[in-house]
């Protein structure tokens, strides 16, 4: 893209094509011979990382769309079936869901890098603005993608975000009805979001082409912030930048794989494992972590319209950055004051993210207001002012000088410090959702020891079999298990029954089938392909038989419940791979019944006191008592044992492919680490003569 290429392929076939469409020349001049500044640091590899993430999201997304059903009644189930029944469906889904978070994580680093090194300054204004457009498109795509699983958080997130448009004066309500295609978020909304979610990534890809084009016209910025002048300032893109990017990408993939294989639900919300219910609002609606700073800005302003305007302004203001910051020195390396304010700004963004995940009350609201002011002040006051009053340090004459000075001078501790801060900040930011999603109140359930925790965790077969027995003899009287089929009992990584045992187990059930040739429904013995039959024919019947509240389905219970972990616990959780809030909670609830509420506490009629239930008044009577179920293997017939076993069983029901996930994860990790090490040494060899 930098002028006509003198590239001449030697192969006659390629020559023939090249004369008619000079595509190889274009590729050669853009990605091989293209001169790239020789002093780029690893922050510049995030461009390549983002390209890879976009490609990966499109690839996994297209595949998922082959299995997904965009219908309000079927969407939730189809996602569960992808995870349970499609070959490697769990992997594709985790890649796509965690991939969205990783995409945003990378884009934030990319943006902060641009901010720090002044990459938006003349002549790269259009390049920067195209980047902001990509970011906006990403936000829209990410939001609509989050709606597709049609869980509680999907539904209510969609409701809250689309309602932002109702703040528009006069036309607000009409716009919202137009967006919904109905009088509330419903099936038409889901359908169009699916359509747009499929479309927008390709629009992003188109803008990315423009972004790269603009980049190749202006040339890359670099840490010194001085333009490349001579040959000595640059190295050819291939092999130098290519190999460095490859190393950066492989390191990023290690980070990514940690989430895919070990922490797939760390960044998600437990409530999204509950199917969308237009009649019940979750106690605490939180968007995905990457929107939290803007959500905090929205909520900190008491006026609805002003809040919405402020939220959108917070993003749009980035477009004007090239003109707000008129300082001539690009890189903050040489701007002592700008550098400090940059880091303050980073902290402000992270804190805003944290506040976005907290309930909007008391001190959080006040802090949110202060930080919102800080956010805008950075762009509107600090940057314009600094351009006038700051005396920058002298910049090097050329990139070559900068490289020379660096190789002579002290090693730079800054990059490693920045990585540490970024990682820590990212964790606070991302993990804060953990603390927010739990229901408030209630004692924290005690952490139990689970056979399935940690990177090598496996289900305890005996425990699964006993848990199945407890479910069958006790829980199944009221609770359905809709997503588990009898065949699953013989699946690898499950309770370890044989096909014949599963078939025998199934045949004990009566399954309603039909209609037959006479048009009548009939009952037949269960087959392995059947699912566990529900105890009630429909939700209304279940509610009527249980004091007005239908007992929830248990298939996903172990993932659909959580509790507040709090800071700094959730940071440690990332490293210890703690994912067992759900099981801990379920186990605690089963054991938390007390016949007499503590003094001074009364629970409403028709409810029972439970120590760990939020609000303590639970509709479910104490389900388990000692000696209720007898085990063949001599395990103690105690509530403690029952609770532990049935929770293990429910964890398996919620995550039947966990063992495969962790096993493959270990292999992937081993491969990626070796690959990254090889890449590192290759990169060193390639760059040996360039320094």
């Amino acid at each position: 893209m930098s002028g006509p290429s003198d590239f001449q392929p030697s192969n006659p076939a390629l020559k023939w094509i090249e004369r008619r469409l000079p595509i190889f020349g274009l590729i050669h001049s853009s990605f091989v011979a293209y001169p790239t500044p020789r002093n780029l640091n690893y922050w510049w590899t995030f461009g390549a990382i983002l390209s890879m993430m976009l490609a990966l999201q499109i690839l996994t997304g297209v595949i998922l769309a082959m299995h997904y059903t965009p219908h309000a009644d079927l969407a939730f189930k189809s996602v569960e079936l992808i995870v349970r029944d499609v070959n490697y469906g769990w992997l594709l889904r985790n890649m796509h869901a965690c991939g969205a978070s990783m995409f945003f994580f990378a884009v934030y680093i990319h943006m902060f890098r641009g901010l720090y090194y002044g990459s938006y300054k003349e002549p790269r204004e259009v390049l920067w603005i195209l980047g902001v457009i990509i970011y906006l498109l990403m936000m829209a795509t990410g939001f609509m993608g989050y709606v597709l699983p049609w869980g509680q958080m999907s539904f209510w997130g969609a409701t809250v975000i689309t309602n932002l448009f109702s703040a528009v004066p006069y036309f607000g309500e009409s716009i919202v009805t137009l967006l919904w295609g109905g009088y509330s978020v419903g099936n038409p909304t889901l359908n169009r979001f699916f359509s747009l979610h499929y479309l927008l990534p390709f629009v992003i890809a188109g803008v990315v082409v423009l972004h790269v084009w603009a980049l190749h016209v202006a040339g890359q910025n670099n840490p010194a912030g001085v333009e490349a002048k001579t040959e000595k300032d640059t190295v050819p893109f291939t092999p130098y930048a290519t190999i460095k990017d490859a190393f950066g990408v492989s390191c990023f993939l290690i980070f990514f794989a940690w989430f895919i294989f070990y922490m797939p639900n760390y960044l998600g919300d437990a409530d999204n494992y509950i199917p969308a219910n237009p009649g019940v609002t979750p106690a605490h609606i939180v968007p995905e972590w990457y929107y939290l700073p803007f959500y905090a800005i929205l909520r900190s302003i008491p006026n609805k319209l002003a809040g919405v305007v402020a939220m959108f302004s917070a993003i749009i203001i980035l477009c004007f950055l090239p003109w707000l910051d008129s300082a001539r020195t690009r890189s903050s390396k040489y701007r002592p004051l700008a550098k400090q304010f940059f880091w303050i700004f980073v902290v402000v963004c992270i804190l805003l993210g944290y506040l976005g995940s907290q309930p909007p009350e008391g001190i959080y609201v006040i802090a949110g207001r202060i930080l919102t002011v800080c956010y805008f002040a950075y762009f509107l006051i600090v940057l314009p002012l600094l351009a006038r009053i700051e005396t920058p340090r002298p910049v090097p004459n050329s990139i070559a000088d900068d490289v020379l000075a660096k190789s002579k001078g002290r090693p730079q501790p800054m990059v490693s410090t920045m990585i540490a801060i970024m990682v820590a900040g990212g964790l606070v930011f991302a993990g804060s959702i953990q603390s927010a999603k739990a229901e408030e109140g209630g004692d924290a359930p005690p952490a139990q020891k689970w056979s399935f925790s940690g990177p090598f965790g496996k289900y305890d077969r005996g425990s699964l079999q006993r848990g199945l027995k407890v479910y069958k003899e006790v829980c199944s009287a009221c609770h359905s298990l809709n997503y588990v089929a009898f065949r699953n009992l013989a699946d690898p990584g499950g309770p370890g029954y044989s096909e014949a045992q599963a078939a025998a187990f199934a045949s004990e059930y009566k399954i309603k089938d039909g209609p037959n040739d006479q048009g009548e429904m009939f009952e037949r013995p269960g087959r392995t392909a059947d699912y566990f039959p529900a105890p009630f024919p429909n939700e209304q019947a279940a509610a009527a038989a249980n004091g007005g509240k239908a007992p929830p389905d248990l298939s996903l219970m172990a993932k659909a419940r959580s509790y507040k972990r709090g800071f700094p616990q959730f940071v440690f959780d990332f490293f210890t791979q703690y994912q067992e809030q759900g099981p801990d909670y379920v186990d605690a609830i089963l054991q938390g019944f007390e016949d007499k509420p503590p003094a001074g506490v009364t629970v409403p009629e028709g409810t029972y006191y439970n120590k760990y239930f939020p609000g303590h008044a639970i509709k479910m009577p104490k389900p388990l008592s000692d000696g209720q179920v007898t085990f063949d293997d001599g395990s103690p017939a105690t509530v403690k044992q029952y609770a532990h076993d049935v929770t293990t069983f429910l964890m398996w029901a919620a995550e039947p492919h966990m063992e495969a996930r962790k096993r493959i994860g270990m292999q992937v990790f081993f491969f990626l680490v070796v690959f990254a090490i090889l890449m590192y040494f290759t990169k060193r060899k390639v760059w040996a003569d360039a320094h």
Binding site: W156, T177, G181, S184, G279, T281, A283, L305
Partner: protein, 152 residues
């Protein structure tokens, strides 16, 4: 110009509710007889939850006695219920802030409390505290008999 607008119009108009959705949004009738004093029910109309509250004397009294000047969105209680049917409050249970469903019988005002962003409504469904800009909307409805209403 006209041609372009005429071409774009169907492309935009298709996004609005389709015929089936509009048909499903036809008026519904609700029997009030089973709702005891102090109780409320939630019915769905056009996919929106509608709270029908049988208000207690205390709630009515509170709703009528509050000074209008103290309200963020001033509206007398009489403008929010039908004359002669003071005990029945019919409101769309959608928070005017960002569309969550407020919980009945919660909050400091004997009315509704929205768990999402903390808006509180009184026993007349009027906003009293929190970020919501307006009172809970009153759907179009009429009393067919003393114990039956038609919503829509």
């Amino acid at each position: 110009m006209v041609g372009a607008a005429a071409t774009v119009w169907p492309l935009v108009a298709q996004m609005n509710p389709d015929a089936a959705t509009i048909a499903a949004g036809a008026p519904i009738q609700v029997d009030l007889a089973p709702i005891a004093e102090g109780q409320d029910i939630k019915v769905f109309w056009r996919g929106k939850p509608i709270y029908i509250s049988h208000r207690t004397k205390k709630q009515i009294q509170e709703a009528q006695s509050v000074a209008l000047s103290s309200l963020p969105d001033p509206q007398p209680d009489s403008a929010r219920v039908k004359a002669g049917h003071d005990q029945w409050l019919v409101v769309i249970g959608i928070c005017t802030h960002l569309g969550c469903i407020p919980i009945a019988h919660e909050g400091n005002y004997d009315g509704f409390f929205c768990p999402c962003h903390g808006s509180q409504y009184d026993s007349s469904g009027r906003i009293r505290q929190g970020p919501a800009p307006a009172n809970l909307a009153v759907p179009p409805y009429a009393f067919l008999t003393d114990t039956k209403i038609q919503i829509g």
